[in-house]
């Protein structure tokens, strides 16, 4: 569903980490980061590493073990669930799960933006942009969260257009 290389580069730019090189193995889809002589393998490992390098431990849960566990869980979800959808049905299941989860949360870890918000938003963006207005309204919480995250400064790179959401409900009885 997503472009792993582009996502990690976007993340690096958001975090203002320069000199980042990313290569993605076309078969295994595993990205490898090279930065200042160090190599890191795997999407969530790379993301964690970038956050730490940029001094942004707040994005990966700081010193709170529960938060760090949640961050690692959702980054794992991005790789094993979101990036591995083989069919429309899989995509639909993912969107439903995320929508349910986000019903009671502003961001993935509650009130604060963290790495999962960024990487999962990058991951589902293209699927969400293909939804009809009615479907976006059905996945109301997901849409709200997606719009919030993509509006954060620096999250979307210049060439990425934000997904369009209508803020007024158009349909009666649509929300699940």
């Amino acid at each position: 569903m997503a472009d792993i290389k582009q996502d990690l580069k976007a993340l690096a730019r958001f975090l203002d980490v320069k000199g980042v090189k990313v290569n993605v193995n076309s078969e295994t889809k595993v990205p490898v980061l090279t930065l200042n002589g160090m190599t890191v393998t795997g999407l969530s490992s790379v993301a964690n590493y970038l956050a730490k390098t940029a001094g942004r431990r707040d994005l990966i849960g700081g010193n709170d073990a529960a938060e760090r566990a949640a961050v690692s869980q959702w980054l794992e979800y991005r790789v094993t669930e979101i990036d591995r959808c083989h069919s429309e049905k899989d995509v639909s299941t993912v969107l439903k799960e995320l929508n349910s989860y986000l019903e009671t949360r502003t961001f993935f870890l509650g009130e604060r933006v963290t790495l999962p918000d960024l990487l999962i938003m990058y991951g589902v963006r293209s699927a969400v942009s293909l939804l009809t207005f009615q479907e976006k309204e059905k996945f109301m919480h997901l849409s709200r969260w997606c719009d919030n995250v993509q509006s954060i400064e620096g999250v979307l790179q210049k060439q990425q257009t934000p997904v369009f959401f209508v803020k007024n409900p158009l349909y009666a009885g649509v929300q699940s």
């Binding site: 595993v30 566990a69 869980q73 094993t80 299941t93 439903k96 799960e97 942009s129 207005f133």
Partner: protein
Amino acid sequence: MKLLTDKGNQHSLKAVIAASVTGIKLDLKEVGYTDQVVPYLRKNRLPVLDCGNGDYIFSANSICRYLLAQGGLDVDDTQVDEWLEWEATQLQPVLGVFLASLYGSGKANVDSLKSLLTHLNSLLQGKQFLVGKGISAADISVWAALYPAQASRSDLLPQYPNVESWFMGLSGQSAFEAGVSAVTNGKGAGSFKASILAQPLVPMPVADARTAKDEESSVSEDVSSEEMEGARQAWLYGKATTPTPRARNHPLLPEEGQRNVLITSALPYVNNVPHLGNIIGCVLSADVFSRFCRLRNYNSLYICGTDEYGTATETKALAEGLTPKQICDKYYKIHHDIYKWFSIDFDHFGRTTTQQQTEIAQDIFLRLHERDFLLRDTVEQLLCVKCNRFLADRFVEGTCPLCNYPDARGDQCDKCSKLINATELKNPRCKICNDSPIIKTSEHLFLDLPKLQSRLQVYYDRVSAAGDWTANAKHVTSSWLRDGLKPRCITRDLKWGTPVPLDGFREKVFYVWFDAPIGYPSITANYTDQWEKWWKNPEQVELYNFMAKDNIPFHSVIFPCSLIGADDNYTIVNHLIATEYLNYEDGKFSKSRGIGVFGDMAKDTGIPSDIWRFYLLYVRPETMDSTFSWADLMLKNNSELLNNLGNFINRCLAFLEKNFGGVVPEMALEADDERLLALVTRELRSYKQLLEKSKIRDALRHILNISRLGNQHIQANQPWVLVKGGDKERARAGTVTGLCTNISCLVSTMLIPYMPVTSRTIQEQLNAPAECNVITENFVCYLVPGHKIGTPKPLFDKLDPALIDNLKKKFSGQKKQDNGSGDVSATPVSSAPVVDGPATPAADANEVQRLTDEVTKQGSVVRKLKSEKAEKSEIDKEVKKLLALKQELATASGQNPATPDSSSSKGKKKKGGKK
């Protein structure tokens, strides 16, 4: 803390061992795989850690790390991250399959694990632990993952000595032993079986780079050899059996042996400038279908025109100091020009104010009268003597008979919201001249719909099953029939309309809703005097009505009843295609507030009409309302038109010109090409099937799929490399290019209903023969080897974000338009106006003046009372009146949205409030 897990789940080892290592107490609670444990997950994942505060952790690796962290033993090392990620994303997908096989059938291919274990082996060289000098989550996780495999197949690890020694080293540790014991209940490797077989498998990485575009056209890429052979035959030999486009000679008349298709679009009301929603709902949709019918060689006729009678025109005429006919002439031209700009190719675009209208309407009326389908009844109406007109509900105000609110409107009281009749108002006054109207009884004629209901039901049951009716059309019609039809008044005391040809009623005219649909046959009668061959010929003619959903009952119930009652073998609607509403950005179109794009403004944006057509059709509100969005317009233009369609055609033709002198070369088809032909044929057939059913929006996507397939074919074959090679390579490049040139030709034909101007341009660039403009089941080669094309040029321009931003601002209502015709809700145009519809400018201007005077007057009253130090209750009463007047004034001058008055004249609920 509680760990929720099924029995014998090997992933739970990760948690139990971690707890054991840190000494944290972990309770195991048994749950089943079908139990919903985590509220928001749709797929069950076990084990799950219940943290107790409503949070759950459902990733086994994360649970492991969390427990270690709680015990102060987690290692903050990127390498631990990497191992855990490797375990979850690389090891598990393969291992899961291996274990399922092993525990299921007892047989499993150890080779599948080879590369993973080799990798593990090499990294464990000389190491006792995966990371650093002690146990980390990495060790626990990978060990636990491998345990069930190792426990069942002791021959697995010895081939990987480093792995084996690391594994055994950990196995001996007490925490690990305790873990195994807890999870297996001391029962050995067999206890993993049930869980392993129930666990969902972690998916493998997706093999190809699936971009958003691929997601959309997720058509199965497998074609059968029959399909390929069929496509090849059609390509090579199809031209001989494919018909050429039929000549169309006006006047078009039904022909024996042809499929005769009569297409109407709801007549736009002449007085309103149409907005994009009106256009997509009616004329544009019908135009696509009409052009498609021509491509199918059906004998089709597309009729439309302006609907010109009714109160609104009469009132506007007074305001502008012109006769109603002059108003109609002026606005007819505006409509005509707008539709021309949008390339709407009517076979005839007429008007309802003709002699033929009068003749046909009166004829139908008299036949209904002779056959006893009309009822007489007296109706009480308010007549303003000064203005010498009967007042429509919205031109009357007075005191509410129920709550005494002094400013109740003619059909509904604003204060208590109850529906009332204008004649019930106390102290009524004419809104135009403020005089008190008198009540006059007036006799009117009613169409006896109840008497015709059973015949309509028979007709409707037949055509709704046999024909194409959109879901909304069926719903609305069924509910009208279910509720039981009531007589409807078909006459009015007005001057501008078709006169009623019956004694006692000769000063009256037909109510516009009775008379407007008769415009369809009368406009046809203006086109040809042999109109009856279309309109009194149900055996040979199929009638399609296109409209927006608010017009449905008039086309499915009232007009058919009129025709059935007239008993003259009239052609009655077979297929009814109704759209939902098009919204504008976040809200609704409004001419008075300058929100939204109206027909005459589209041209001034500099964006070509074909782009407008494309986007409106792309978002055509078929099964649900949709929205016009500038950002989306830009995106679709730049991605679908520019990068997909335009790019494909242009690169192909440019390449042909540059490398083959613009001449189509010999094409020797290989299997890959035949596969492409088959896939293109599939898309073509879907397109045809969808357009036959008027599924206009969906059919468009298949055109885009075809150009996408073309692009992919070029990418895959890389003809720019091939041409630099030897003869064989050059020939291959020629085949690919020639094939894609022909695909461009097919696309140009399929595009005609949607983007006629662009299609013509492409065909000029291709120098395409006219015979290619037919749609059949087959993709035929029209541009044969030796055919010379014209001059390729890019087809589309990029839409610049700055331009789009400007346009969006321009149409968002910052400027006030003072000649607006009131707030138009998202309602697309009706085929006749609602009699008590939106306020006209005349009423507005007079209204504003009158209210301003009232406010001034009332202001003085209040001031006087205050200076006289009158009773507080009296002052309050007058102040209240003043505030109400001020509110009204604001409303009338368009500052606050007013709830548009009575379209509830039809007893229908208006859609949504204002935002």
